[in-house]
Amino acid sequence: MATPTYDLLESVTLATAASSVTFSSIDQGYGDLILVMSGTTAAGSTPQCQVNSDTGSNYSYVMMYGNGSAAYSSAGTSGQFNLTSSIRPTVPALTQTSFMDYTATDKHKSILTRGGTATVHTDAHAVRWASTSAIISIRVFASQDFSTGSTFNLYGVAK
């Protein structure tokens, strides 16, 4: 029988609206992490992310974006990174974010995310977290509460 390689570490489905979701004490026994978020907010907002409670300007990014009528790209450094550029009511945003080699202590971490909302946009971001610390926690947050029923699933991918 094949060895399992893609394990659900934690699943959160919001029973009430919430402004953030945190995965803590993340299992260090995998090669990569994948975070899948599907959700809405009561009003337009941007779902963002920090790791290890790091709020410093340690997240460098380059991104591309298309909304059906225009495409653009940008780059910069910030105290967090975006899972996707916006999240809205009604049509759920869907994002998939890979945290590569998250337990490594000899390199900065690469994070790749793609997502969007079918009525608004699609985008992709490449992020460098400028730290050699292993990732032990992930916090997802937004300025507007995530709606009831929004889901956040964290998977570990075997080495």
């Binding site: 399992p4 659900l8 059906g68 495409a71 049509v91 998939q96 969007g116 079918a118 699933n153």
Partner: protein, 167 residues
């Protein structure tokens, strides 16, 4: 284990008019993932669910070619469009590919779709596109079948598509 292979389709000699996954097992709260490697008669692929070709799909596609980034989308489409194949006549043994994620596919609300794909032809003008898509299927029906075709054309031999349930 939470990523379970449901079915792998390998296209044989002569090709097929569509890739079809039917009678998909229903697992509440789970996601679907499709990993695809293909050659077809067109670069453009059309994805539908439950044999539904009404205007129940929305999508935004962002694509990059050899020279520029561009994008398009529809808010009342009969399918979700993406580009993941290598056309007939292009370099032998070269295949496009795609990763398709469908969130909470048994839901009775709108289902979201995220696609990461490339139509590969050695980076040549007009035939190589890297593209990402945000899509949705705006019905209350759980997804029980998935189909896509090469814009009405043929999907060729050695194309493979694997469907997984992620739970």
């Amino acid at each position: 284990m939470t990523m379970t292979l449901v079915e792998t389709i390998t296209v044989g000699s002569g090709g097929v008019s569509s890739i079809d996954f039917t009678n998909i097992p229903q697992e509440a709260g789970a996601d679907l993932m499709i990993l695809y490697s293909g050659r077809a008669s067109n670069l453009i692929e059309k994805l539908t669910f439950n044999s539904d070709t009404a205007n129940n799909y929305k999508y935004k596609m962002l694509k990059g070619s050899d020279t520029a980034a561009s994008n398009n989308g529809e808010d009342a489409a009969s399918s979700i469009t993406f580009r993941s194949s290598t056309e007939l006549g292009q370099t032998a043994n070269t295949f496009g590919n795609a990763s398709i994620l469908i969130s909470n596919y048994t839901s009775t609300t709108t289902k979201s779709v995220s696609i990461d794909a490339v139509s590969e032809h050695n980076g040549e003008v007009g035939t190589s596109y890297r593209n990402i898509v945000a899509g949705s299927y705006t019905t209350t029906s759980p997804i029980t079948s998935i189909s896509w075709n090469s814009n009405g054309g043929t999907t060729f031999e050695h194309t493979t598509a694997s469907l997984y349930i992620i739970s």
